[in-house]
């Protein structure tokens, strides 16, 4: 048995070409001299060859059965069905997430009160080069345009922008001191603003602009040192301390055409017929403040039913709202309401 196994292993080594030269010579000599041994070698070689063929066939069968690739031949194979199902499920999931879980994009025009301050500051930057001569009409545009937060200006209707730009250009070309009536232009601007209250920038994005709540023109009566002007619930009081300060009262200039006072040409020549135009605006960015650079004083965050009192002391205009006084400064910028803290001035105003 052991001897036979050794012969088997010797033949095996020969067939695997593992014999050394000396062993190989002996082996070949034995094959030549012993026919039975030669036949055994021949049989073992044949069996090994057939075992190899069988194993190779087995591997081929494995590859054929398990490795078969249906190259887009059977679209209903599990592979394609699973892949298609995965893709469809993925799209559905994406749709559901976008539809129900991602909030609709709305520009934070109302909630963020700080945004409004930023707008005012940006506004300041854009208007600095106007050297304080920026006019009401321009500021209207500034206000409107700047309230379009986070929207590229190119998104706004180009026709409207062109119209506004042309209007702005016209206004800037005019000298500051001339008080020509611009009612037509203002009306145009107002119409333009109202028409474009809602700008449809894109199909699903709606941008709102500031809304004009009420517009009033208040006639001022100068009664010595105290002028009362009553119109509806608003009361305007002008305290004129001295005649020398009358020159500062340009803000109460009456329109030349309306007054017909062409003789003097002085804005302060008829203090008893001065006009103050008020406009109450609702800001979309919740801006709390005012803009007063020309004739019209724009007040934001003021309810039309509120009682307001306006007083002038030493050329400065003060607004009494509730129990507090606020000094209103002429400026091309949007200003916030700053409560008056100087007790001396408050006492004088009282």
């Amino acid at each position: 048995m052991e001897q036979d196994q050794k012969i088997y292993e010797l033949i095996d080594a020969y067939l695997r070409d593992e014999l050394k030269t000396e062993e190989m010579d002996k082996f070949k000599y034995k094959m030549r001299t012993e026919p039975e041994f030669a036949r055994r070698v021949e049989l073992q070689e044949a069996l090994i060859e057939e075992l190899k063929v069988a194993r190779e066939a087995e591997l081929r069968q494995i590859l054929k059965e398990q490795g078969k690739v249906n190259y887009i031949q059977n679209l209903w194979s599990p592979r394609w069905v699973y892949a298609s199902a995965a893709i469809v499920t993925g799209f559905l999931a994406l749709f559901v997430v976008l539809k129900y879980f991602v909030p609709q994009t709305e520009f934070p025009l109302v909630e963020n009160t700080k945004t409004e301050e930023t707008v005012s500051n940006e506004d300041t930057g854009t208007e600095e080069d106007s050297e304080g001569t920026v006019r009401r009409s321009k500021n209207d545009q500034v206000s409107d345009t700047n309230n379009l937060i986070a929207i590229d200006s190119t998104e706004v209707e180009p026709d409207m922008l062109a119209a506004e730009s042309a209007e702005e250009q016209d206004v800037e070309d005019e000298p500051v001191t001339e008080a020509k009536p611009r009612t037509t232009k203002k009306q145009d601007l107002t119409n333009l603003r109202q028409e474009s209250d809602k700008i449809q920038v894109e199909d699903d994005v709606e941008v709102k602009r500031d809304r004009l709540l009420e517009s009033r023109t208040i006639k001022l009566e100068v009664l010595g040192t105290q002028v009362k002007a009553a119109e509806s619930t608003n009361e305007v009081v002008v305290l004129q301390e001295s005649a020398s300060k009358k020159t500062k009262n340009k803000l109460f200039r009456k329109d030349k055409e309306e007054s017909g006072d062409e003789a003097t040409g002085e804005a302060i020549s008829a203090p008893d017929e001065r006009m103050l135009k008020l406009e109450l605006w609702e800001s979309n960015v919740n801006f709390k403040g005012y803009l007063w650079d020309k004739e019209t004083l724009l007040l934001y965050d003021v309810n039309p039913s509120e009682t307001l009192r306006f007083k002038e002391l030493n050329g400065a205009l003060y607004m009494k709202r509730g129990a507090k006084y606020y000094q209103l400064k002429r400026s091309a910028k949007f200003e916030s309401y700053v409560p008056l803290s100087d007790p001396t001035i408050i006492k004088s105003l009282e």
Binding site: L43, E49, L51
Partner: protein, 188 residues
């Protein structure tokens, strides 16, 4: 089909050296498109892809199990070099078949193994009739050229001596079966 894992090149070599057929199946699936494109671009047909690809994979299988095998390039590159060699050889044969006489074709089709003294058909039948353990053991040793240690691990034998002993027993069993089925005249 979806259960076959993907192997890195190093893992492929390791798994083939362990005699894991799943590694071969993985290669077949991963590189099928690459091989298919090559064959089709080089005057091949869909029917020829499987044969060439299987031949190539079996060559890889045997080469990786040789003692001195070291993979120095990517497995895909190595496989494609074998595919190209086999395919160009096949193309040469196809070209030769078209210009020579029909009689020569027959000579090139298939050659029986050297063991002309024994009936190959009987041997094939006896190998097929051998029990699965013996057939696998002998196949791993002679065709896959797996080491006795690996065979022991793969088939759950105690050690390499057991493998040697079992291998001898299986071979003698096959030899006996063949001898019994041969005509006495053929054997002697």
């Amino acid at each position: 089909m979806l259960g076959i894992r993907k192997y890195s090149d190093t893992q492929l070599v390791e798994e083939i050296q362990k005699g894991n057929e799943e590694a071969l199946v993985s290669m077949y699936r991963n590189y099928y498109t690459m091989v298919r494109n090559f064959i089709l671009k080089n005057n091949g047909s869909d029917e020829e892809i499987d044969d060439v690809f299987q031949d190539s994979l079996i060559a890889v299988w045997q080469n990786v199990n040789k003692d001195d095998f070291i993979l120095t390039v990517k497995m895909s590159t190595y496989l494609m070099s074998i595919v190209k060699n086999l395919w160009f050889k096949q193309l040469k044969k196809k070209h030769r078949f078209t210009v020579v006489e029909d009689g020569i074709q027959e000579r090139l089709v298939y050659e029986e193994p050297k063991s002309s003294a024994y009936d190959a058909k009987v041997i094939r039948e006896m190998v097929a009739a051998l029990d699965e353990t013996c057939r696998k053991l002998l196949g791993y040793f002679y065709f896959d050229q797996l080491e006795n240690r690996v065979i022991a691990e793969k088939m759950g034998f105690a050690n390499t001596n057991t493998v040697k002993s079992k291998k001898y027993q299986c071979f003698k069993k096959l030899e006996t079966m063949v001898k019994e089925n041969f005509e006495r005249d053929d054997l002697l």
